[in-house]
Symmetry: C2
DNA sequence: AGGTTTTATCGTAAAATTACGATATAAGGA
DNA sequence: TCCTTATATCGTAATTTTACGATAAAACCT
């Protein structure tokens, strides 16, 4: 329950890209889902049942996790008979990498633009 | 309550780097914390009270969120009098970017190594 | 010394997430 | 047709996370 009495100064609404990034990070922020995408990267593709075998969770739980990853645009599934075969969503992963690479600009600026005077730049100076 | 009866095949334990990455993703997977790091990137530094003003949350809540970010290695705080001044942890952010950049290798291979025969590569082929 | 500001931490309630079993549905086989 | 396999979804319980108020402690000021 968020108090509305406090004036919200600068927390501007997230634009579409930021929302997408936040959704991806949230999806990956769960240990099981973190694992799943790694497994998919290694194996290239898995059917639901295989992922169920890899984890120690119920099939329904894995299915839910897959849904979160799917909706975040990190994986995609193709129905093959009664099974569903999942793999990473390459476009989504690429987007994530590019987005993170440019995220929080001004923090890790170009080495040419930011010449560290010390090996240990002061935190709050 | 995770069932232990199921054989855990290939979910190998995460190594230290993977654990660190998972922790960072988890920290960033919360909307408030996502916002905080963006604010810190824009403003370079903030004291706790300022971040409290930016959000609509209680001070104690913000403090908790800051703790999660701090422990994940994404921000750092320096005590100045009664206040604490926070900024992004540049080394941690840089590490995150590099790690994400190389994560899930084999998925977004080099364009030279993976020549797409179609504009829309099959998912589970 | 007393008062004010600031904040991290604690305890707890509320909210959100994750886990599970049940089940309907689709696909495939005998 | 019946049976089996596979899975997404639903309802719900369990667990975790997030929110809040209270408070102790540190720093600063009068």
């Amino acid at each position: 329950m968020i108090k509305t009495a406090k004036v919200n100064h600068t927390l501007r609404p997230l634009d579409a890209d930021e929302q997408r990034l936040a959704q991806m990070l949230k999806a990956l922020g769960n240990p099981v889902r973190f694992h799943i995408v790694q497994v998919l990267a290694e194996r290239k593709m898995c059917i639901t049942g295989e992922l169920v075998e890899f984890t120690t969770l119920a099939q329904s739980t894995v299915s839910q996790h897959l849904k979160v990853l799917r909706e975040a645009g990190l994986i995609e599934g193709e129905v093959e008979g009664p099974a569903t075969c999942y793999c990473l969503n390459e476009a989504g992963i690429r987007w994530l990498k590019e987005r993170i690479g440019g995220w929080l600009a001004g923090c890790c600026g170009d080495a040419a633009a930011a010449a560290p005077s010390d090996g240990d730049p002061a935190c709050c100076k």
